[in-house]
Symmetry: C2
Subunit: 351 residues, 2 copies
């Protein structure tokens, strides 16, 4: 193992999390298309496919390129890509390499632009709808117009998708899942009004996964579920015993009676949701909280628990696993029978 | 230029910021040892040395290794490194390669450990003192005991240092600078009581730089000053016209009447200080605020300013430049006469 801080994957827990979600999808007869922005690792995505995933979801063209270069041939860029000439060339190149490729569109104008740049180029589109997060995504009633514009432009319209990101708050996952299925059902109706069939009705987030209405959805796209993180722990979605990724740290200072670890925002990530109780959690000290976060230090309030000595190794669960993994080039493994690490090959491929 | 999002350096502004700080140090007769964790780029550190910096500051052994491999031979790891056997080997290797190397120590125990591992190995130490941030750093009154323990262990005690990180709040920079010089002066006295001379009295942060008491300090270690960021803008430390790094983004959605850009926490960083008014700022729309941040999207409230069309390129100033740069492999340049980009060679070298 390297010197701390580094990210460590509990491979057995990760495989169990992956199998559980695959089983949920299989039993409901829906597709699972994991969002690989969480881990950006072809090694892990292969485990997800082997467990039954039908393809992968990415956030950027750059991520699609990395995964295509590693043999992945069914990729959905779940993002309202604005397709200018350089992006059109990159997308056409992926299609030309045999990738079954889809992108998100959320406006008539973007659909028209996509058609002008890539109409007839075997690019598929899914219409993104807003189910309550109020980020990107058209109102469900407008989905049919966007789909029709995409179809007129020569794209294959595969269906509709949403991200119930507003499930990331305490006690709202069931309501967010209800709003997700309501919005998707309305969007399917809006496409039908235009004579367009939504073969794919895609949603899902890790907090809302257990609540998804799988009589409406045909596809789930969670990402975090493979690992969990302090957010899922604090939302009550995953117990600490299921969390499969930690940051291994060392106690470097007891200054002022404090506990200072050698992990900061440059490996844990600086994400802190409004409901978070701190900057990460310590499985061995469940009542402790990270009360101060710098780039290379965190200060822990142990809440009365015995203070580890200088030099002690302490594990921290990051608040948001996607952000933490995006800060490292390697994920280290505790599995003596497998490889020592997995490369985070699509790290930093933001564009 | 690549497709958005990417980080763009205004090289002329950066050079001016670098020259201004060098001039401040030169006029006061103190040393400038920039913290290169901000940019992690040997190309930029060379510009800082050419402007008059006497050496560099890093946060980790890994950063020291990268800069040493690029020819830097005077490096201070301003961090209370816990020196176990693997770290001792790496530090000894750096010294063996001719690097004039120093580390931070902030306890008698850590100083003893450093001495046991590397006593007599030509490693220097500076005693870290807490001047009010309450992170790492011994109380100034205890600095002499730590210095004595380091000296007994066979380390060369070079002096004392602090980081006035509590200067990162509105209207407190002058007070933080006063606390910095008070703490350092007390630490110097504590070393003197042990018969140890503090040749180096090191401090400085970008917000407090103009307030530093250069009759006490002999060395300044700011990092952010080369670029600035939205934090410095909102603290009133640097006007937007001086900020030398932006994230170039594209408008990807107008869903719900919103303005959505293709930059999120995976390139801007998720840092949001308590005083921050949003997740970053837009120089072309000074009243606008980034009100929602995801991994690959940000939602902007334009505060009445005209909404840019889909596909428009919009520049965003990240809240914290150190975190943003640590997310990319290349810094792109607007300078037609120079290179197209600088590699962020020490990116991710957390350990």
């Amino acid at each position: 193992m390297p010197t701390t801080p580094y990210l460590l994957v509990d491979a057995a827990r990760m495989r169990l999390n992956i199998r559980r979600a695959a089983e949920l999808a299989r039993q409901a007869g829906v597709s699972l298309r994991p969002h690989v922005k969480t881990h950006k690792s072809p090694d892990i995505a292969r485990i997800q496919l082997a467990a039954g995933a039908t393809g992968i979801t990415v956030a950027t063209i750059g991520e699609a390129e990395v995964f295509a270069a590693h043999g992945f041939d069914d990729i959905f860029i779940a993002y309202p890509v604005w397709i200018d000439a350089p992006r059109a060339r990159r997308l056409a190149d992926l299609v030309g390499r045999g990738v079954r490729l889809a992108v998100g569109v959320d406006s008539v104008e973007a659909a028209g632009q996509a058609g002008r740049m890539l109409g007839g180029a075997h690019l598929a589109a899914l219409v993104e709808v807003d189910c309550g997060q109020h980020r990107s995504g058209v109102d469900p009633a407008g989905a049919g117009s966007v789909a029709a514009a995409a179809q007129r432009g020569g794209l294959e319209v595969r269906g509709v998708f949403t991200f119930p990101g507003h499930s990331y708050a305490p006690g709202v996952a069931d309501r967010a899942a209800q709003e997700e299925s309501d919005a998707l059902a309305r969007a399917v109706g809006s496409l039908a009004d235009e004579g367009i069939t939504a073969a794919v009705v895609s949603g899902g987030s890790t907090p809302s996964l257990a609540h998804s209405d799988l009589s409406v959805l045909t596809e789930l796209r969670p990402g975090v579920y493979a690992f969990g993180d302090a957010q899922q722990w604090e939302l009550g979605v995953m117990s600490p015993e299921r969390i499969a990724l930690t940051c291994r740290t060392t106690v470097v200072s007891h200054a002022g009676g404090r506990l200072v670890l050698d992990a900061g925002s440059k490996i844990l990530g600086a994400d802190r949701a409004s409901y978070a109780t701190g900057h990460g959690r310590l499985p061995a000290h469940p009542d402790a909280r990270i009360v101060q976060l710098s780039e290379h230090h965190c200060v822990v309030d142990l809440a009365g628990s015995a203070r580890p000595d200088l030099g002690t190794v302490v594990d921290v669960v990051p608040n948001h696993v996607c952000s933490a993994i995006n800060l490292v080039d390697l994920l280290h493994l505790d599995d003596a029978t497998g490889p020592a690490s997995w490369p985070v090959r699509a790290r930093g491929h933001n564009s």
